[in-house]
């Protein structure tokens, strides 16, 4: 077994020894080609599934053997502006943001407490907060559904509760990681300088933990934004989100254009949000 503490022993690198020139040429050629082939294969693996989505979203007619659409059309993308789809987008946005607020707040509180509790207790609480990861979401939804319906919890709130439980392990983990390297002395300094408790939390703690808040909030937003099974099983069609429209479009034959356009409508907002967070994060790190 190779040990991790030592670099590769030089005796394992036969190419360095003098060799017949023909063999050396083929070896070094192979050496140069292999990374290129691997890189191209990985790029293809990552990008290929997205190609048909992009093409179909702007395709007019695209009959079977043709590798590219026969005609182009912006109809599918324009249909994203129809009232039904816009409304679904708003529901998804509302769900994503509600889960982000709820799970980020609760996760932050929980992480602070994990940090302060004695070790055994902290482990137990931490373990409990991880359990949602172990339960398949559909199983959780099915059981919770009966209870939430009989307690007459409004549909949107019921979906929000279940998704917050799903998102909590991620947000708690994000804050726990951030708190592990958090320097409490900044808060102490602010306190000795006469800042009130609230002011310390607002201007010191929130500012220092802003990247963690953004990361946790983004993950929780994704849980709400991209959820399909919880909204379908609990919502039962009372409010229709983008994933529900996409699910019914993708599961029926034909309508590839709409499936592709809806896919883009689901991919782009989180990607834009991520790019925005990354830029904002980079700027925050550079400025004092």
């Amino acid at each position: 077994m190779t040990t991790v503490t030592k670099p590769v022993p030089s005796s394992r690198v036969p190419e360095r020894r003098p060799q017949p020139s023909a063999r050396r040429a083929s070896v070094s050629g192979w050496r140069r080609i292999l990374p290129v082939v691997l890189g191209a294969a990985l790029l293809l693996w990552i990008l290929l599934p997205l190609a048909p989505v992009l093409l179909w979203s702007v395709a007019g007619q695209w009959r079977a053997p043709a590798p590219l659409p026969g005609s182009w059309s912006s109809q599918a993308l324009e249909s994203l502006l129809s009232p039904e789809i816009l409304q679904a987008g708003l529901w998804s946005l509302a769900l994503g943001m509600s889960v982000a607020v709820a799970a980020t707040t609760l996760g932050a509180l929980a992480a602070f407490s994990l940090h302060r509790l004695p070790r055994t207790l902290s482990r137990i609480v931490g373990f409990l907060l991880l359990t949602p990861l172990a339960i398949p979401p559909f199983a959780l939804v099915m059981g919770a559904n009966v209870l939430l319906l009989s307690a007459r919890v409004p549909t949107f709130a019921a979906v929000l509760i279940v998704l917050t439980v799903t998102a909590l392990p991620y947000t708690t983990y994000m804050f726990s990681v951030a708190l592990a390297s958090y320097d409490w002395r900044f808060e102490e300094v602010a306190r000795t300088l006469g800042a009130s408790r609230v002011r310390v939390i607002r201007t010191v703690r929130m500012a220092l933990l802003a990247p963690a808040i953004a990361r946790a909030g983004f993950l929780a937003f994704l849980v709400g934004w991209s959820d399909y099974i919880t909204t379908v099983l609990i919502g039962g069609g009372q409010f229709r989100t983008l994933p529900m429209l996409l699910g019914s479009s993708a599961s029926s034959t034909g309508g590839e254009q709409l499936t592709a356009a809806l896919s883009l409508a689901m991919i782009l907002p989180p990607v834009i949000l991520l790019a925005f967070l990354a830029r904002w994060g980079a700027r925050g790190r550079i400025s004092p």
């Binding site: 040990t3 690198v13 050496r31 990985l42 990552i46 302060r116 949602p132 099915m142 009966v146």
Partner: protein, 292 residues
């Protein structure tokens, strides 16, 4: 030993801070599991009278078949995701600017929902899908969507989860490995040697953790097998959701029995996984103790 009262009140306050999150999780999960158990045994019927019955559990053969399909999907998808995810991470660490590009593109696919990815894989791999068209619709193009090997489902899971695996590996081994691979490179190690003899041994623990997460996730995932899988046999998720939404309300107990089976399988896998990672961590600690 007595605990100072100040410390005790501090931890009580800390417990109170955690209470909203813990109570929410414990209540929702506890109630969900209890309700599922009761309904699977004939209590809390949607309508009619409660009557104890183990009928929903009686069809053990089809529950086992569904569990088998779920385990097959999770095993195949996890294996493929680990291999590709490791290659992405290793390439990112060894290939300079190209490596960083691959790592960034791979990370950018993480926010894509599984439902979208399933739709995309469907458009790509279907009978007259994009791939078949690009290849000129060859005679022997295999059926990949809805086939008995669940190829499209496994590829969808692997596509999404390999990006996650790469992220975990890169986050877990990061900068020190970049230095080690550079050292190995100056000593003349080829890219393949750097991947297999430097990065792979270090990536074992992150790969184990990521593998466990991916396995449990794919075990309970619904969208890809529903959209891209064959009609029968069904994995646990598809079976449970179909029975749950069935017009025939008497199939509710069976839906709950299926859901609980999936919980039991997930918990068993997690238990086994934790046991294995703990053992391998102990072993690697012992080994590095001997070698250093």
């Amino acid at each position: 030993m007595s605990v100072p009262s100040g410390q005790r009140s501090a931890s009580r306050r800390a417990l109170l801070t955690a209470a909203p999150a813990v109570l929410l999780v414990v209540l929702v999960i506890g109630a969900a599991l209890l309700t599922a158990l009761l309904q699977s045994l004939g209590f809390l019927p949607v309508f009619g009278e409660a009557r104890f019955s183990t009928e929903a559990w009686a069809d053990g053969a089809s529950l086992l078949e569904s569990a088998g399909v779920s385990l097959y999907l999770a095993t195949a998808s996890t294996a493929l995701a680990l291999v590709v995810g490791f290659l992405v991470a290793a390439y990112a660490l060894t290939a300079g600017r190209g490596g960083r590009l691959v790592a960034a593109l791979s990370a950018a696919t993480i926010p894509i929902p599984h439902l979208v990815a399933s739709g995309a894989i469907g458009l790509l791999l279907a009978d007259a899908g994009f791939l078949a068209r690009v290849l000129g619709m060859p005679e022997g193009f295999p059926q990949l969507v809805g086939d008995s090997w669940w190829a499209a489902v496994i590829l969808e899971f692997a596509w999404k989860e390999s990006a996650f695996v790469a992220l975990v590996v890169l986050g877990g081994i990061g900068r020190p490995v970049a230095e080690l691979t550079e050292t190995a490179a100056t000593l003349g190690a080829s890219a393949r040697q750097r991947m297999l003899h430097v990065i792979l041994p270090l990536a074992r623990v992150p790969l184990g953790v990521a593998g466990l997460v991916v396995f449990v996730y794919t075990l309970g995932s619904y969208e890809a097998p529903w959209l891209l899988g064959p009609v029968a046999p069904e994995p646990l998720s598809v079976r449970a959701v179909r029975l749950f939404g069935s017009v025939d309300l008497s199939s509710r107990p069976e839906a709950m029995a299926t859901a609980l089976t999936s919980v039991a399988v997930a918990l068993a896998v997690i238990g086994l996984g934790l046991l294995l990672t703990r053992r391998s961590r102990r072993r690697s600690r012992a080994q590095s103790g001997v070698s250093s």
